[in-house]
Symmetry: C2
Subunit: 198 residues, 2 copies
DNA sequence: TCTTGACTAGACCGACCGGTCAACTATAAT
DNA sequence: ATTATAGTTGACCGGTCGGTCTAGTCAAGA
């Protein structure tokens, strides 16, 4: 049973790393199994399909993202706007670390999957949509706090939260396209300055 | 010879449409040949590889983009900032038209390829990077004009142009993820309000 | 008329794809 | 000791992948 949890988790983590570094379509089940040191039969014991595995991978990504990025940025004793700046800094550090290690700026795992699969697989599209909606919720709450403490004027908070998320995703995509995490360092902090008026 | 131009062009246009609607990896050479009414032998007479075809597809996309979107937005007798708003409107109309026709919001063709292939194929990454750099150049020129005519204060123009492009790409990705072109209508106009200070 | 070279047709290649299956082992409850 | 269950193994499936190759069509130039 413990071994089983381990096997499932190994598959999940191998898939997460491979799909993030390459893409959904470019990573086969066989490669995931090799990387996890598991045979195909075991793979299909734990996951009914590659799609189902990918849904679990998105969950895994989001859990880790909340732990490594969101929790630190949004729980700190920072002013609301500075939480966005902290988020920008953490995003930079994360991408920089990966780039130094593997030589590629990988961008946002959710954005990558969304761009590749949204038109191909409705389940995957909806899963990523849900992740984005949760992020937007955090942004809205933070903007609420910013307005409450006078750091931000009256604005269209839901729209601003959406715009901030879009901007962040766009920056991650540009960093990936230029294969340069410095794009994030230069431009991501401006996320905190985005305002959609009422 | 005329027939040859036609064959090459048919392959190119079939590939453009299929890759845009699905993705690079999800579209095989056979499917492109079927769609173009061409046999594999002909395909490989005109293109050495699927990758080379895709490079040509990106060029094809950009030519069409410049004709259908850029030319109209940036040549009109609009104020510089209104050119960005015109661009937003054209982007919306384009995505809306596609969505009404095929039921999916496809997002930005360049962003899609960048997200999927940047870490997998250096040639493709660089090609899309070049396209983005050209777009940025147009944005810079327009911001220059905006500053010159007093529509915009002194700002960091190169950074603002980058931020605008990132924002636009992010909005397109969100529209794709939500499968809803209205995201573009609601949020893309705010592109004109982005400022990176000196 | 003969030759050349661009173009087309379609069979074919090995590799890989996602997924299945029956047989096997290890564990733990009865 | 027996049985049920969870987990593992590796051979195997039909289909598709990108790409090759040979034979042949066809129009233009000599």
């Amino acid at each position: 049973m413990n071994a089983a949890v381990n096997t499932r988790q190994r598959i999940l983590e191998s898939a997460r790393d491979l799909i993030y570094a390459r893409s959904f379509s470019e990573v086969g089940v066989a490669a995931i199994c090799d990387s996890a040191g598991v045979k195909k039969g075991s793979f299909y014991h734990f996951f009914h399909s590659k799609q189902e595995l990918t849904l679990a991978v998105i969950d895994e990504f989001f859990i880790e993202f909340k732990q490594r990025i969101f929790a630190q940025a949004f729980s700190a004793n920072l002013s609301p706007l500075n939480r966005f700046r902290k988020l920008a800094d953490l995003a930079y550090r994360f991408q920089k670390e990966i780039a130094d290690e593997i030589g590629h700026t990988l961008g946002c795992p959710f954005g990558n999957i969304a761009a590749e699969m949204s038109t191909q697989d409705e389940h995957l599209r909806h899963k990523v949509e849900t992740v984005f909606n949760q992020m937007e919720g955090h942004f809205r709450d933070t903007l609420d706090a910013a307005v409450a403490c006078g750091e931000v004027d009256e604005i269209n908070i839901p729209a601003t939260a959406k715009a901030m998320l879009a901007y962040a995703e766009g920056i991650m995509l540009m960093a990936k396209t230029h294969n340069d995490p410095e794009v994030i360092r230069e431009l991501m902090p401006a996320m905190a300055d985005i305002r959609i008026r009422l």
